[in-house]
Amino acid sequence: MAITRIILPRLILLLFVVLGVAVITFTISHLIPGDPARMIAGDRASAETLENVRRNLGLDRPVVEQFTIYIGNLLQGDLGTSLRTNRPVAADIRTFLPATLELGTVALFIAICVGVPLGVLSAVYKDGPIDQIARTVSVCGISMPVFWFGLILIYLFYAKFQILPGSGRLAMGIVAPERITGFLLIDSLLQGRFDAFRSAVYHIILPGFVLAFANMGVITRQIRASMLDVLQEDYIRTARASGLRKGMFIFNYALRNALIPSITLLGLALGDLLYGAVLTETIFAWPGMGTYVVTSIQTLDFPAIMGFTIVASVGYVLINLLVDLAYMLADPQIREV
């Protein structure tokens, strides 16, 4: 049931999204004045050299033909070759995406683990000191620029107290574990490489926390608001009156219901995390998609820009699908319709 009703239409939609995104990015990248051949061969390249580079890259063909070739390759899973690095874009994405996903996952985990309890406590002890603290934290999280916050943390924990590293994914001199998932935390554990695991943990703390912070603020605020709503409901009052223990009803009844409106938020938060990663990755020299995309845009590396956009849009559609599925699990009413 759920498969036909929810998943299948989304998968069909996905195809259209990919195609649409491909058309739009392709058009935009070809409308921007600038010659990728010149970027590769250098400004002072002779006309002959430019012509040769263009021919090698297929840039001398009509735009429509270039697009047809691109889509044809895309359908076979080939995202083209990066103009800048001469490497297949798919390989570049395989290299950089796991780093970004790992950072995003850890950040989301931190954001939820801190944000949800803080939101709950804030609602339960409304207007008390905990609530005040939670509200301050959430306002700071939402309004503090990632760049500034990141630098403050690097200054304190790396430069001043020297307890955490300030850049990269692994300490120098530690050989990276063999690549299985691309997640250093997982790969190092799978191979029993505890030195690498430890180093990876230390390295992800600061960027993970910086990236988590903004979303933590949003989550805290959202959970607090919906908890306050839920706590007003009749069934909670009944539950309370019937003598259920506080912790029990808060977690079993109230939170469960308060979480439903937060699911969309979490989906959005995940998207936000990938987006916010650009800044965080720059500050922490995190070798992820963020830095890759920025350099690709600067050098007009069409295949790389398009490859990233397509992968990102597929990601968004999949996240939305997950959100819908999570709704179904959380709210029986939706399941039964």
Partner: protein
């Protein structure tokens, strides 16, 4: 209740203890991070695109190529003159068309294979076949001939004065022909060489984690004396503040791309040395000579007199630059120390403009953020030109767009930066003033003066250096009068290193290139 809270207390106690232990542990990897004495860490903003000598045109890529490969000739220490490297001697025929090189014995690639004439031929054939940016330095190369394993001969189609100098460029690196084992789909091993090396230089690339770090290890077969640095690590650290902290913390030994104000602040740290050396990186402004009113030399001269050169150097560059004098920068032969220099003289500028009979001039300055000085220079120019009644609009565009607009002559004024690929005034004079090189290739102000074109063409085709110098000086004299460009400044090359890093030799031809093989650390 009591007991349970007691348990809580116990748990909390042990929790704090474990957090303490975790923090202690956390501090250990940091102390281990401090690089060993034979490992040098260089932190820079971006990953080099590739390390393929046949393709790469960025200084960031040259860092790797110069460390991993040798060329037939090399710049001698800090000078722009070339001396032997793989070639121990060479001769040219009277016409300058045939060059014969005798290879030195004992040079080996990093797999132990000797460097021979066949490898030289292979490298140049590959360069010409790839026909990417670096091949442009060899416009007249017809053929490379293997005479015997230790002798190689270059045949040119026309005399090319800077030929010997071009053999010192990154693209002229000699590659081990065995790389062809890595060839895929006829790419001449381009994909493989993009991230690996196969040269006879002091180092070889042993690992490349994209956007993270590149590790260079000693080439065990290197012919020169064994380098003190066992390993060179290039770390990619995008943010300048983070790079600076790494340097002061000792995690990085050299950091690049530091803004001038930060360089000033770093100078106060005794453990750090800010290297600021005069370079041949010039900032100048193209004035579109094809477009009215800039097609009038008097208007261009007026603008040249309206620029506050020293104000720009002191205010924007914090003194880390000097005003250009002619096209050929100081430090390269062919520079004319007596050459005419425009000075800031508003009255003269006004008079010239009146002489030209032009008023109500409205121009656009098209710039990008590729060079941090371009925007403030534009603002300074806007203020100066307003004083002589010229309205200047600032138009900020993406760098790729700016390059395209300039290449196609769709601009009034636009700032540019130029560095020479090889140590010869040809790199400036023939590129900037030859009427046949208009647009992208170099003559970006679309300047046409047949006399100047003839002078630079002649200077580019004869071998007698004294005669060439006279021709270039004459061409500079004529062109400076025509004022096709605004000659703003020669910028200093700035980076910071830890004081413990010894043996660095600055060569103005090798920006972002380090003599790792002869550098060391004393910490």
């Amino acid at each position: 209740m009591r007991r349970s809270s007691g348990e809580d207390y116990e748990m909390n106690g042990s929790k704090w203890k474990s957090i303490g232990v975790a923090l202690l542990l956390a501090s250990t990897p940091l102390s281990g991070v401090m690089a060993a004495q034979d490992v040098l860490v260089l932190a820079r903003a971006e990953d080099p695109p590739t390390a393929d000598p046949g393709v790469e045109i960025s200084n960031s890529g040259y860092t790797l190529i110069y460390a991993a490969y040798e060329r037939l000739v090399a710049y001698k220490g800090a000078s722009t003159e070339v001396g032997p490297e793989l070639a121990e001697s060479w001769t040219a025929d009277a016409a300058g068309l045939v060059w014969t090189f005798k290879l030195a014995n004992g040079h080996k690639f990093d797999d132990g294979t000797p460097v021979d004439a066949a490898a030289v031929k292979f490298s140049f054939d590959r360069l010409i076949k790839l026909k990417a940016g670096p091949s442009d330095a060899f416009p007249v190369l017809k053929e490379v001939e293997v005479v015997d394993p230790q002798t190689v001969r270059f045949h040119l189609t026309a005399p090319f004065a800077p030929f010997i100098s071009t053999l010192a460029v990154s693209g002229a690196a000699i590659i081990n022909p065995k790389v062809m084992e890595h060839e895929k789909d006829g790419d001449l091993a381009k994909a493989w060489l993009a991230e690996h090396s196969a040269g006879s230089g002091p180092y070889r690339i042993t690992s490349w984690e994209r956007n993270q770090s590149i590790v260079l290890d000693r080439n065990e077969h290197y012919a020169g004396s064994q380098p003190a640095l066992k390993q060179v690590v290039i770390r990619i650290v995008g943010d300048v503040s983070a790079r600076r902290l790494q340097l002061t913390n000792g995690d990085a030994d050299i950091i690049e791309q530091i803004p001038l104000d930060q360089a000033e602040a770093l100078q106060k740290d005794a453990s750090v040395v800010v290297e600021s050396n005069p370079s041949m990186y010039v900032n100048y402004i193209y004035m579109n000579n094809r477009q009215p009113p800039l097609d009038d030399a008097k208007v261009r001269q007026a603008i040249s007199y309206a620029v506050d050169y020293q104000g720009i150097i002191d205010g924007i560059m914090l003194g880390q630059a000097k005003q250009m004098r002619g096209a050929v920068p100081s430090g390269m032969w062919g520079h004319d120390p007596q050459g005419f220099q425009y000075t800031y003289d508003i009255e003269k500028a006004k008079a010239l403009l009146a002489e030209a009979g032009k008023s109500d001039i409205h121009l656009t300055y098209t710039f990008s953020q590729a060079d941090p000085a371009w925007e403030p220079v534009g603002l300074a120019l806007q203020a100066s030109l307003a004083e002589i009644g010229i309205k200047l609009d600032l138009q900020a565009v993406a760098d790729t767009t700016k390059r395209e607009l300039v290449a196609n002559g769709k601009f009034d004024m636009s700032p540019g930066a130029w560095t020479p690929d090889f140590a010869d005034p040809y790199m400036f004079m023939n590129y900037w003033f030859d009427a046949e090189k208009m647009g992208g290739p170099g003559n970006r102000s679309f300047y046409r003066n047949t006399e100047v074109t003839a002078l630079v063409k002649e200077a580019g085709s004869i071998v007698d250096e004294a005669k060439r110098k006279a021709l270039y000086v004459e061409a500079q004299k004529l062109s400076t009068q025509d004022a096709p460009y605004l000659y703003i400044m020669e910028k200093n090359d700035i980076f910071a290193r830890r004081a413990a890093v010894k043996g660095y030799v600055y060569n103005p031809m090798l920006i972002q290139v380090y003599n790792f093989g002869t550098m060391s650390k004393t910490e």
